[in-house]
């Protein structure tokens, strides 16, 4: 129960960050050139769909198809926001990130899927990998915000 609350806290933190950067990109999207749009769309759709599908699987175990669709939808939305060359790239990277996040969430819930030895399954805690991933996500969003400025 405490682990679920911790994951809920992490996901709300990342969701707030994502909301802020979505509105920033929406305000400034006319200033970008093509290459920059491609890089931003790839980075943000891949990491966002990866992280949020992992949280989704950890919170609601068993809904694999819904989380894949959720990842593809995140990529499609960011591509639609940033327009022309980025839309296909956003859909593709969102689907890839969604598949990876689903797999990581399923392995974290049931370590026997990966043949991790039983003695170390108790030592493997559920919250270390999501915590590291969410810290990394916050760093990447900060660096995107910095790259808008230069």
């Amino acid at each position: 129960m405490r682990k679920l609350l911790f994951i809920l806290l992490l996901s709300s933190w990342n969701g707030a960050e994502l909301y802020r950067i979505y509105h920033l990109l929406k305000k400034k999207r006319l200033l970008f050139d093509d290459h920059f749009t491609l890089v931003i769309c790839m980075t943000i759709s891949m990491l966002t769909s990866f992280l949020f599908t992992m949280y989704f699987i950890l919170l609601f175990p068993g809904f694999y198809g819904a989380s894949l669709l959720f990842g593809a939808g995140v990529g499609w939305n960011f591509g639609k926001l940033l327009r022309n060359p980025a839309q296909l790239n956003g859909l593709y990277n969102g689907a890839i990130g969604g598949a990876m996040g689903t797999m990581l969430g399923a392995v974290l819930q049931n370590p026997a899927l990966c043949r991790i030895p039983v003695e170390s399954a108790a030592a493997m805690d559920l919250s270390a990998i999501p915590f590291a991933a969410s810290c990394f996500y916050a760093c990447i969003l900060l660096s995107i915000r910095y790259s808008l400025r230069i």
């Binding site: 290459h35 920059f36 890089v39 931003i40 790839m42 980075t43 891949m46 990491l47 990866f50 890839i96 990130g97 990876m100 797999m103 990581l104 392995v107 370590p111 990966c114 043949r115 991790i116 030895p117 003695e119 170390s120 030592a123 493997m124 805690d125 270390a128 990998i129 590291a132 991933a133 990394f136 990447i140 660096s143 995107i144 790259s147 230069i150």
Partner: protein
Amino acid sequence: MKEVTLLYLLTIDILLCGILFVYVFRRKKWVGIQLGMNISQAMGGVAALLAGIVLILAFPFHFSLITITSAAIGAAAGAAFGLLFDYQTCLAGVTNGFMVGIMAPMLGSVLDMPGQIILFVHGLFLFCFLFIIISIQRS
């Protein structure tokens, strides 16, 4: 395979990555923006793949620590190769390295015949190495 052999292999890979980094660093004015982006993505991904698979086969009892370590190695390799060129290239390399580094220990721990896949991944690494050098010399 023995742990010592795996760690020797990892050392050789780190040396090869260093050699490639020095090579690209000396010729970075010849390299355009597209080739730079491809170099940083490819090297981040391959470094993360090698580190994840070899480390999880050497120490199979520390899954979460090795996942975080290999993700950090991939992100650092992508950032180091990307910062030679541009800030956006660095961003792309970091993301790709992190993503492959999260997945690689999961792949390494389900293998039943690890020797073949280690051979295959090292072949992929050497192929990328040669291909990057050839495409830098052509540009």
